[in-house]
């Protein structure tokens, strides 16, 4: 663990009393678990919270987005464009797609993974040549990690979502113990140990 000063500097200081987090990815990547743990943790610190998920067709490898909003009192479950404090992106193209939702000074945390959508596979469209560079040109706070590599090192290639959750937790004012407690309540016992490891790995990344 490095300097706590640096860490607290990274923490979000929301302008309004509501924190807006957008979790984006591709159907099947496990974004739902991430939002479930996040909303559970937020509840534990006594905040009002609303979560919006779009199901249906999205399950079949489509673009998925979950919105989590918390604070003293939350009305709308969805985040207006340009109002997200943090975007947690499980995939690069999705990071780019949803970027306009990020505040000017918001942070975007990106998993360095590429999943080609069907139009790209078919050759009808091109995968953006350098999505990350494009994002960097538009926003200051861009953090990129190789979630899969970190998850494999932590002993479970399937736990990329929990690695990313660990990364996200660094940017929120929620005690680490609260995260671990929520994780314990959310994931099945037999996967708990590898998931805690994955979370720690994300936290330390």
């Amino acid at each position: 663990m490095c300097a706590t000063a640096e860490q607290s500097e990274r923490k979000v200081k929301p302008m309004s009393d509501i924190t807006n987090i957008l979790i984006v990815g591709v159907g099947g990547q496990g974004t739902i678990l991430a939002s479930r743990v996040l909303s559970g943790a937020v509840q534990k610190i006594g905040q009002d919270v609303k979560v919006s998920e779009i199901h249906g067709m999205a399950q079949r490898g489509g673009s998925v987005v979950t919105q989590v909003r918390y604070g003293k009192e939350v009305a709308s479950p969805i985040i207006p464009q340009g109002e997200a404090d943090i975007i947690l992106a499980f995939e690069k193209l999705e990071a780019l797609r949803w970027l306009s939702y990020l505040k000017e000074n918001g942070s975007i945390l990106i998993n360095d993974q590429r999943i080609d959508p069907m139009p790209v596979i078919m050759g009808a469209a091109d995968y953006p040549a350098d999505a990350i560079a494009a994002i960097r040109s538009l926003r200051k706070n861009v953090i990129v990690i190789d979630g899969l590599k970190i998850a494999i090192e932590a002993g479970n290639p399937k736990a990329v979502n929990v690695v990313l959750l660990g990364l996200l937790s660094k940017y929120l004012q929620i005690d680490k113990n609260v995260w671990l407690e929520t994780l314990r309540e959310t994931v099945p016992v037999k996967f708990l140990e590898t998931n805690v490891k994955a979370f720690e790995a994300g936290w330390n990344s």
Binding site: S52, M57, R60, A75, I78, L93, M118, M122, L138
Partner: protein, 586 residues
Amino acid sequence: MKKLLTGNEAIARGAWEAGAVVCSAYPGTPSTEIIENAAKYTEMYAEWSPNEKVALEVGAGSSIAGGRSLVAMKHVGVNVAADPLFTLSYTGVNGGLVLISADDPGMHSSQNEQDNRHFGRAAKIPVLEPSDSQEAKDFTKIAFDLSENFDTPVMQRITTRVAHSQSLVELSDRQEPVLKEYQKNALKYVMIPAYARRRHIDVESRLEKLQEYAETTPLNRIEWNQTKIGVITNGITYQYVKEVLKDASILKLGMTFPLPRKLITEFSKKVDKLYVIEELEPFIEDYIKSWKIEVYGKNIFPMIGEILPETILEKMGEQSKNKNSLPVQAEPALNTPVRPPVLCPGCPHRGLFYVLNKLKVTVAGDIGCYTLGSLAPLNAIDTTICMGASIGAAMGMEKARGKDFARNLVAVIGDSTFIHSGITGLINTVYNQATTTTIILDNRTTGMTGHQDNPATGMTVKGDPIKEVDLVLLAKAVGVNRVVVVDPFDLEKLESVIKEELRAEEPSVIITKRKCALIEKNKDTTPCVVLNESCTGCMRCMRLGCPCIVKEGKKVRINSTQCVGCELCIHVCNSGAIGKEGQTNV
């Protein structure tokens, strides 16, 4: 204790707390989780009905017999259930009867975006619209009381954002269910013309009473603020308005039919400018205009798709002096290719559409995961209309263009959709002597909505095993002589069977039987790999539209983390360039 619940979970909870005894539904996004959650309460009976009409009829019977009953469906499901609905308005209820209509503005997973408040008005029953999970639960309970107090079915209309958003809900205990006394009452429950004429009088006087109720019920309330702008709004839009128009006074309508004319008129008099912000149709607005009150609505806000918080900001921005500080951002056009949904890796439907595309057959399609067979590169579907429409549509095509056309024409329909409303179409092909080939895609589940059971899967919503509908016997029983079952992964056999059945000048049924890839547990998931030196770059395998097979230079590569090893590509490749990982020399 407060719990984070989706609107759908909250409705199930509300029914339970209200002492409901019977819950029924046919799955459909965004309503599916209501009954899935209702089924978890052991005190309530819950079922997947074969379709929405049956679901509502079960609810009707249970209500007449004295029990509180919850029936849930997506918006287009109400079209199917409309027949019992309109007459149930006449019979009224005994135990409370609540119908949940889950509308889908923006069509996240639907074939249209009809506004079912029109159904409420047409059937002359009250319509409630909750705006978050707490209200979804509370309104469900109120709806049961309303239903019994006014002797009417009650529609609770939710939208995708209410159904699938989670918010904190205060839980209560279950109120002991009281079965109301059952008495034979033909005047009320037998709708022959003589009795129905009398009941229609009751319906009209009930509507008047409901109108009075609408004026005073706490379901409709005014939140006073500055009076420059007054907004009348309903459902999820209320939450957006509250968030982005902090200075506006709001008349929140929890009951949108019948409307409180006096309350609305009073409100309109006290504000400088009156707006109605409602998704889809100008339902509230049209009434207000008919009362000669000046109002801004669909002249500013879209009639198509969802109204989002930023839409409200943008549209009101120019109108409002109290312009909210939130910027509506215009990013430079980011070049992001769309990511449409695709059939899953290992999906049993893929082989079928590959063959249909290859044979250049006209395909009348239906509603389910297999609708995705219409997208490139499979491009295999010609029509998609509504649940069960494929067989009738194929028949109509044949009747219009003649038997020869039917030699190159199939209807494709899933197992669940076939039970829902395909069987009647099949009976018609026999009865009216069509020669169509119907392909039933039996993947042993209702896939699209997230894998619900149905009468053909051998399992109830509570997880109890039952005798399943035998699709072969069923097809034979209605008079189809030619019924073949084939494994859709056996591409050669599948192709020859389809060709043979197309030739036959009589109705025939092909059942492609294989479990949905997401529920199949006993399979070898060793991924496949491409032998680079054997791959000729012919791109045949690309025609499968499997998301795991990607172009790399002039050849292809298989994404091994996604591939489930279904081996379909092995069979499609002419050059023997694809094999199972570990069993090939790469």
